[in-house]
């Protein structure tokens, strides 16, 4: 178990970590991420291949494992083109921002608990801040500049559209993402990743914060520009989006950045909602075991990313924005308010008696908060569901019960459930159908 510095600024304990050990850990994280990227590109192509009933890359190395290496070498040796219209400094700066910023966030991810490294006892985490999770969001905010600047500096229309889409996407989905994380902060009483992991010792947050987990998973796909939310790239609409004009190593940097960003958001999801490096079912998770569980959970999310890409088409831009602003943000806001009331009631800030139900203590305030929230949800779903049903009924075309097959001059077969009118009564029936379709 990780030891903590006493006091409310609690972060992981780095008192036995000399500077050179931090450098070693930074190097370890760098290598871990690069190797993971090499693997995940192969993994994605193989899994998608399997989902589409084809083998995927299987020629270079065992099971095609070295395919990514070959591709990487290829992009290093390719010609690096730069459009004549491009703003040359910013054009080079953009991929550098993407490729460097993506590594920064991983410095606060707890990969495991306390381990012994070269005779020192230290948490397997480069550093920890009391505001570690906010730092991930801030770094993501800087990282998006890579995409936006790439699109702007290319001096071309489609990249600019891609980068504008990326900006709008980032601005709107970062709000929902931040709000979904707020409920985790409330549950664990800290924004330091090590303490959030610690707070999930008895119950992982994805159960009490189930809705926030759902919102986070949606927004993390949006933040990483992955299908079904890869509007910034949208190869069917805007060629390749922001990296249309990029080639060679500069393009490879964007590619690297995208995959490492996937690992970052997945690692954050693991840390915030799935108990971080803690093991399920009481299996051992002390020391280096933690790294195994962390990696396993990370790769679970990677599989989800690939699965989504294999099964969902791209959403339309206006649908994507409407979903973000009109559904995710308001509902997450309500969820945060509900969780705040729940946590306040649980900490007994409202006072009130404590009841004993089935041998466990429940404060009356908690029960009231849960009851009020549940009844509000039921009433809201009742009203909204009713309205949705009514709208759906209005949208259905009105089919008359009786139909005259020769009304339009040509014989028309009846739809299921329709009756044919006898030819003699055709004129009356025609008038009746007019009446119904008008009403």
């Amino acid at each position: 178990m990780t030891a903590f510095i006493a006091g409310p600024n609690g972060t992981a304990d780095f008192s036995d970590t000399p500077l050179w050990l931090s450098v070693v850990k930074a190097l370890f994280i760098f290598v871990y991420l690069l190797v993971s990227t090499l693997l995940v590109i192969w993994f994605e192509r193989r899994v998608i291949g399997r989902m589409q009933q084809r083998p995927g890359p299987n020629r270079n190395g065992p099971f095609g494992l070295l395919q990514t290496l070959a591709d990487g070498m290829k992009s290093m040796l390719k010609e690096d083109l730069k459009p004549a219209n491009a703003d040359s400094v910013v054009f080079t700066l953009a991929p550098l921002i993407t490729a460097t910023m993506c590594f920064v966030s991983f410095s606060i991810m707890p990969l495991a608990g306390d381990v012994t490294l070269f005779g020192h006892r230290t948490p397997l985490q480069l550093t920890d801040l009391p505001v570690a999770v906010l730092m991930v969001l801030a770094v993501a905010g800087v990282g998006i500049y890579g995409i936006v600047l790439a699109g702007w500096s290319s001096g071309s229309t489609y990249p600019l559209m891609g980068s504008l889409r990326a900006t709008a996407q980032m601005v709107s989905y970062e709000i929902a993402m931040g709000l979904s994380l707020v409920s985790v902060f409330l549950y664990s009483g800290s924004m330091a990743t090590s303490q959030i992991v610690q707070a999930q010792e008895s119950l992982w947050h994805f159960i009490p914060a189930c809705f926030a987990f759902f919102v986070y998973v949606v927004t993390m796909v949006g933040e990483t520009n992955r299908l079904p939310f890869d509007l910034a790239e949208g190869e069917g609409e805007i060629v390749g989006g922001y990296f249309t004009e990029y080639s060679g190593m500069r393009f490879a940097m964007f590619f690297l950045g995208e995959y490492i960003n996937m690992f970052t958001v997945a690692a954050l999801a693991t840390t915030m909602f799935l108990g971080g490096w803690q093991a399920p079912f009481g299996l051992p998770d002390n020391g280096w075991w933690g790294l195994l569980w962390f990696t396993a959970k990370l790769w679970f999310f990677m599989f989800v990313f690939v699965w989504l890409r294999g099964s969902l088409p791209r959403v339309r831009y206006d649908q994507f924005m409407r979903f973000g602003w009109k559904f995710l943000i308001p509902t997450t806001l309500l969820w945060v308010v509900a969780v705040a009331f729940y946590v306040a009631a649980k900490n007994n800030w409202f006072g009130g008696p404590i009841l004993q139900i089935a041998g466990r203590d429940y404060s009356l305030a908690v029960l009231i908060v849960i009851g009020v929230c549940a009844s509000l949800v039921i009433v809201a779903s009742w009203i909204l569901g009713d309205r949705a049903e009514r709208r759906a009924a209005e949208r259905l075309p009105q089919i008359p019960v009786e139909v005259d097959p020769f009304a339009g001059g040509y014989p028309v077969p009846p739809l299921p459930g329709q009756r044919l009118v006898e030819p003699g009564a055709a004129d009356d029936a025609y008038a009746a159908t007019k009446e119904v379709s008008r009403g």
């Binding site: 600024n9 906010l134 969001l137 801030a138 905010g141 998006i144 500049y145 600019l160 900006t167």
Partner: protein, 262 residues
């Protein structure tokens, strides 16, 4: 750290002497850059470095929020630059108001003088120091205590003001659409009523050597049809001339003819 003499670590000093000149250069770039987007970039860099300084001084929350908020804000600035003044808009250096540069310089000096004299004469009481607060209360809880305790009204009133301003801007900028926009059927009907371009506008040029939306079509009499390319492309002067294709075609034809005579 109750006393005024605060010791600064070597690491922090090294960091300061590397980052501070960059910040100064970036903020000078914000003022002097010709392109609006470069200016916005300079601003983003300055704000990020300020955030790093806050973190180095122990104000973790303030520093991270500084980066978080300002990167988003500069991004919006960036969007506005692109939407309002164009993708590659740059300042013109022509002075439109005579003597305004001198007047502005004078006013800036005056304002600077007032600020220096006012700020220079301020005295602070001894503060607890960030390190003290970080260990006794914790960085985030201490901040929360101030925001949601002592200054709660100030913050609430400020946020209400900002929300009002944002809503006001939206209401002022919003334009209600009166009536429905014309659809494809209506456009077609209008064309027939006018009796021109009945089959729609001419499509862009398609030649054996080139086929793109930026190449105008040729009419039967050999003249160039301006209607066949998008107005936006013509305004940006991004269209290309089909004459080069025609010349190439003529050359090939001449070659074939000369070949048949040989």
């Amino acid at each position: 750290m109750g006393d005024a003499a605060v010791t600064i670590g070597t690491g922090e000093q090294v960091m300061f002497w590397i980052l501070a000149p960059i910040a100064v250069m970036a903020s000078l770039g914000l003022v002097f850059a010709r392109k609006a987007v470069h200016a916005a970039l300079g601003m983003a860099l300055t704000m990020i470095i300020l955030g790093v300084f806050y973190i180095a001084q122990g104000a973790d929350f303030l520093g991270v929020i500084q980066i978080f908020v300002y990167t988003g804000a500069v991004m919006m600035l960036f969007l506005f630059v692109i939407m309002l003044i164009g993708v590659d808009a740059s300042d013109s250096l022509i002075e439109t108001l005579k003597g305004q540069r001198w007047a502005a310089g004078l006013l800036v000096l005056g304002l600077g003088g007032i600020l220096v004299s006012a700020v220079g004469s301020v005295t602070y009481g001894l503060s607890d120091g960030v390190a003290q607060t970080n260990t006794s209360k914790g960085n985030v809880p201490a901040m929360a205590e101030l925001i949601f305790g002592r200054y709660v009204w100030v913050f609430e009133v400020t946020s209400a003001l900002l929300i009002t301003a944002a809503l006001g801007a939206m209401v002022l900028a919003h334009r209600e659409r009166l009536g429905k926009g014309p659809n494809q059927r209506e456009w077609s009907r209008r064309r027939f009523e006018k009796g021109e371009n009945l089959a729609g506008l001419p499509v862009p040029g398609v030649y054996a050597r080139h086929n793109a939306v930026d190449t105008p079509a040729l009419l039967p009499d050999g003249s160039i049809s301006e209607l066949s390319v998008s107005r936006v492309l013509s305004a940006r002067e991004q269209t290309r001339s089909p004459l080069a294709d025609l010349e190439a075609e003529d050359a090939i034809r001449a070659e074939i003819e000369s070949g048949s005579e040989r």
